[in-house]
């Protein structure tokens, strides 16, 4: 099977949909330079458009275009730039269908790069899926592989609802198997990336890759870890998580976003209330601390779950009774 990088797979997803459906178009800052530079010749310039720096303006325009028959992809260069359009995303994209009693459809895809570990510092380095998950009316996907990036983006473009896709920067250059044939990955369905019987790790984005590496270390110690890639934050696939914990009895949630009120908290609460009797040990969460991201690499390297910290946390959980 041929291999593509995550970034190539994502662009392929969008271009495939653009060829298939003339309503799909892309806009964002500098999109004609990156990541669509290699496909400009194929589409007329109106379908891949650079925007001025005005997120509220162009994300809102994406919403208006979606309400009136188009299927826009709006790209935010860095995830915190979405905050400049928060009112548009919340008041208009998320709420319109419900608030207007079903009259409105907002088939809008927003892509945002999640840049972290690269000394991008406080304003560029947020991992905000938990923030947006608290807004009813948005779907949120976070692919962890090139295969999932292509499949989830194609699903997002066909979903008919507002979908935010967060692209982990540290995965963009990673290569993986990506079929050329038509396929999609369903939104709202987690994926067991590695089966195991002793302990469940639920993780997201690049933490999935780190968790798989940790699982390999732990295998040497006789601990078989099941790694669940949550893939969608909204809708959240609680059933897959609960089934896994029913099998293993131990849950470690790994999320590079901050601790409080995040995805890990939601998964933990779900399992504590609906999977309580499966548990052999308290639920463990490994996340970033509740601080903005510091610039200095010697500080930033302390922020996020690593292969080492995941391995240690899983080992501790395995020992706990």
């Amino acid at each position: 099977m041929r291999q593509l990088t995550y970034s190539e797979a994502a662009v392929e997803a969008i271009c495939t949909e653009m060829r298939r459906d003339e309503r799909v178009f892309v806009m964002g800052e500098d999109v004609r330079a990156t990541p669509y530079a290699n496909v400009l010749h194929e589409f007329n310039s109106g379908r891949i458009r650079n925007t001025p720096i005005s997120e509220a303006g162009f994300i809102g325009a994406g919403i208006g275009a979606a309400l009136t028959g188009m299927r826009p992809v709006v790209e935010a260069a860095y995830s915190p730039f979405l905050y400049s359009a928060m009112d548009q995303i919340v008041s208009q994209a998320a709420k319109s269908r419900y608030m207007f009693g079903g009259q409105a459809n907002v088939p809008l895809v927003i892509r945002a790069v999640v840049a972290y570990t690269v000394a991008a510092a406080a304003h560029h380095s947020d991992r905000p899926w938990g923030i947006f998950a608290q807004i009813p009316g948005l779907k949120i996907v976070v692919p962890a592989t090139p295969y999932d990036a292509k499949g989830l983006l194609k699903s997002a473009l066909r979903d008919g609802n507002p979908v935010i896709c967060f692209d982990d920067l540290t995965l963009l250059g990673q290569r993986g198997d990506v079929p050329e044939d038509e396929y999609t990955v369903p939104i709202g369905v987690a994926d067991i990336k590695r089966a195991g019987s002793d302990l469940t790790i639920v993780s997201i984005a690049a933490a999935v890759q780190h968790s798989l590496a940790a699982a390999e270390c732990l295998r040497q110690e006789g601990i078989e870890v099941e790694v669940v890639d949550i893939r969608s934050v909204v809708p959240l696939d609680r059933a897959t998580v609960l089934d896994s914990v029913a099998k293993t009895g131990r849950l470690l949630i790994v999320d590079p976003a901050p601790l409080t009120c995040g995805l890990a908290a939601e998964i933990a609460a779900t399992v504590a209330s609906e999977g309580f009797h499966s548990l052999k040990a308290p639920i463990a969460r490994l996340t970033a601390p509740d601080i903005p991201v510091p610039f200095s690499p010697s500080l930033e390297c302390l922020m996020y779950p690593t292969v080492q910290s995941i391995t240690a946390a899983a080992r501790n959980l395995h020992r706990t009774h």
Partner: protein, 340 residues
Amino acid sequence: MSAELLSDTPSESSAHSAKMVPKPLALEMLRRMLLIRIFEEHAVHIRTTSDAMPGFVHIAIGQEAEIVGACLALRQDDYITGNHRSHGHPIAKGAELGPLMAELLGKKTGVCRGKGGSMHLASFAVGSLGESGIVGSLMPVAVGAGLSAQMRGTDQVCLCFFGDGGANCGPFHESLNLAAIWRLPVIFLCENNGYATTTSQTSATAVPHIASRADAYGIPGNIVDGQNVIAVYESVSAAVRRARAGDGPTLIEAKTYRYREHAEFEMVLPRYRSEREMSHWLRRDPIDEFTEHLLTSARVSGAEVEALRAAANAEVEAAVEFAESSPMPGPEELLQHLFK
């Protein structure tokens, strides 16, 4: 108290213009203004004498001419977006009154199935893409509707209603800039009624006239007498022609006035509008002025006006009856309509 807001007295041009508009259109202008006025009067009555209309209600009485003059310059397949002072917009665009009134009462038969209420009316069947409780929030959405029309190759336009308060917030600037650089078919209509709640436009805005902000975006900006339905109709029509021809957006500032408070409050606010100012604008009732012009120019008879008024009354009363006798949504509706 800030400087008083006194418009220029109406010129003879509106009487002259009234002759130029075909009679059916003139009657339709009057009819729609009456529908708004009577609908709003009923809304006020229900609100002040019962608990049937909860939440925040913002009444458009006094602004009928700018609303109707604008909407009648549009086609059925053109779009509008609005704001929290919302009832007049879908009415002027041709929405059925029953579902609108039912929506204000939170009924299941409401145009938004009771999910939206007064500030969040929408009637997609007539191109009303929504009203908003957040000031300025729909301006970028209007730009998107214009973008959509341009990309789909239709000559539809989007008319964006917003107030003097909206002219100072970020999305106003982003929207005008974006519509200008892409030459989008959007008409930005500022319903300048002089106040954002209690704060005067003159104290809150760095320039005396919002229309002058068009210069900052390289687009035409026009001031129009918002109490003169023909003047608004002509100004918006010109902007619509521009937009359909692919020449881009226009900013129009309609000078108007709201006769009631910002919202139908229980509490009484400290006075922030002088008696002199209020009585000046009450003398410029847009419906009275237009009726008088039609009668004076002998285009319309008193009997025709009375017939129109009676029909409008009957239509609103039927809408109220429909709304009041409709059921509320049941618990099964709570979780519906979130996702497609």
